[in-house]
Amino acid sequence: MATVTYDAASRIYPGSTKPAVDALNLDIEDGEFLVLVGPSGCGKSTSLRMLAGLEDVDRGAILIDGKDVSNLPPKARDIAMVFQNYALYPHMTVFDNMAFALKLRKTPKSEIERRVKEAAALLNLQEYLDRKPKALSGGQRQRVAMGRAIVREPQVFLMDEPLSNLDAKLRVQTRSQIAALQARLGTTTVYVTHDQTEALTMGHRVAVLKDGLLQQVDTPRNMYDKPANVFVAGFIGSPAMNIKTVKLGDNGAVLGGLAVPLTREAVAKAGEGADGKVTVGFRPEDVQLVGEGDGGLSMTVDLVEELGSDAYVYGRADLDGAEEQFVIRTDGRHTPNMGDTVYLKPQSTPHIFNAATGERIDG
């Protein structure tokens, strides 16, 4: 049990001037499940490996439970990690895989036996203890990797995309198991993923990274409802938010035939350095289809994806002479047809961002 603090921690790979992780500041509370999420190459895995001690911290510091561990070797940090490819020792049985770390610490045999059996029971692995990893399925290997971390009873769990090698169904199942397990053990956990669904469903808080820079840390709810900038808005949520940069009028934004009224302060903030433009975003589900004369934005339907309960409608609309793509979510039982023209109207106030900086504007 411990807190984890990134204090302006940076990692600059040799031969590169641009930091892979740039002055990351992050406070993770005791017992918290924090998810680091971002696109490939955003520095999320590097951040995790810095915490593990598998990457150097070039500037700043990393603290576990208030103690600076930046220069400590991995084994002195009391952490356990689950790797993407599980990194099981192929020549050892499941039991030995889980017991290895304990043996290295000269834990008494009976204690090792007890802890491994406990972890195996927790993960439904009892009958596989004598097998070697290659005689296990992907899901079982994943559980062994979890078990190996659990028996250590570490201060912090680190997980580097542990579900990315599982098939879709198993991934959803294991996702909830990991979250439940973490809640039960109460161990501080840092979890890396590129999948925003995993991030939203598993984390107590989610940290979004891009190009080595932290974009936003917040609860999944806030992350979804109040993205701090255009990048987070586009990254979190599936299908992605409709984000368009349009003309800024005196009273608000003008989205084709649709006026989006803004307060005076918002207009002022949006106007800063933005050259008369503003970025407007609304989520696919925050849109209503209205009748022709109701002041909606007219869109030609290109494609309808039916998912049973819902349907996603993809289409094009004319914005200031440019064709723009939109996607909206509708009731799966009442969908327009391809080629139809429909009229969109956001149900609530859209998200407004400064077109130059990409920062969120409230109000």
Partner: protein, 332 residues
């Protein structure tokens, strides 16, 4: 062996290969077999098997190598071998080489390979020492030099009065090393020779093991590091078991090479060394055949060398098997 294992694991009775699905012998198939099986088989029989048979036959005669006639003496040569003190000494020396050279070479090569791949800093990513690629290239140099050249170079280095080794040792204050004949004293001749043979092999086997280690998922080493394994422990508990097949192959190659060792011996100790202390079987064979003109007897030595080599290879396989090298459940 592997086919019987697979049938027991599936629980189905073994089915003789080819039965039930025998195809008609068309000209196409017959000519295919003739060219791709028949020709190599004939070549193999003529150039590999027949010399073996011939050698075994000669080993049962008293042929002198140049006469047209020879007398069949049965097992006489072999009886004589085991009463021949010189041969028994050479057999002993060969066995010593066969035991010491592979062991020392592999231990050194493994240690160096581990240092170069996972022996670096204890923090940060698992990596080798700095400039490890340089060490790798440099250590490979001896292997690129022909064995006979190595033998000649080291004979010069070991030279009692002009050799660089004694020059260095005396300048360091070891006065006893002055004019010490490393290869001329029966106490050190064998050890000095073994050192040269090991020196010439280590680089190559190091590179071989490095390739093996690089084939292991690096996450495994990172995982071991997080588990708290020291570098030595990682090498012993992970590297050795995971590149076990490479080690076994290396052991057999090295064993065969060192049971022979003819080139090194011929270059450094052409007469068998002081009191025959470095005489090896291949050398005894050579002297018996070409100096003493006893081809039949020399051939029986060759047969013994082949037997010793086969026994060695069998021992390596058995030891590896007994210590759990074969991973039966995983082999399909």
């Amino acid at each position: 062996m592997s086919s019987s294992a697979s049938t027991t694991s599936t629980g189905r009775p073994a089915r003789p290969a080819g039965r039930g699905r025998r195809k008609r012998l068309t000209f196409d198939r017959v000519s295919f077999f003739a060219v791709f099986l028949g020709v190599p088989l004939v070549i193999f029989l003529v150039f590999v098997v027949s010399p073996f048979v011939q050698a075994i036959y000669y080993s049962l005669t008293d042929w002198n190598g140049f006469s047209a006639t020879m007398n069949f003496v049965g097992a006489g040569n072999f009886v004589k071998l085991f009463q021949d003190d010189t041969f028994l000494l050479s057999l002993r020396n060969s066995v010593i080489l066969g035991l010491v050279v592979p062991f020392v070479t592999i231990v050194l090569a493994l240690a160096l390979a581990c240092v170069v791949t996972i022996g670096g800093s204890g923090t940060g990513a698992v990596r080798g020492l700095r400039r490890s690629s340089l060490y790798r290239v440099v250590s490979f140099f001896p292997y690129a030099v022909p064995a006979v050249v190595i033998g000649i170079i080291w004979a010069q280095i070991y030279d009692p009065s002009r050799g660089i080794l004694n020059a260095v040792l005396t300048s360091l204050g070891f006065q006893r090393a002055e004019n010490y004949p490393w290869l001329g004293d029966s106490r050190t001749a064998m050890a000095a020779t073994i050192f040269v043979i090991v020196w010439s092999f280590v680089g190559f086997y190091m590179v071989l093991f490095i390739a093996g280690i690089r084939g292991i998922d690096p996450e495994i080493f990172e995982s071991a590091r997080l588990d708290g394994a020291s570098r030595v422990r990682t090498a012993w508990s992970l590297v050795v078991p995971l590149i076990r097949d490479n080690v076994q192959t290396a052991y057999i190659y090295l064993g065969i090479a060192s049971l022979d060792s003819f080139v090194y011996m011929a270059a450094m100790n052409p007469d068998g060394g002081p009191q025959n202390s470095t005489l090896v079987m291949s050398q005894d064979l050579y002297i018996t055949a070409f100096t003493k003109g006893q081809f039949g007897y020399a051939t029986s030595m060759g047969v013994m060398l082949a037997v010793v080599t086969l026994v060695f290879a069998a021992l390596v396989f058995i030891i590896n098997g007994v210590t759990g090298g074969r991973d039966k459940e995983g082999r399909r």
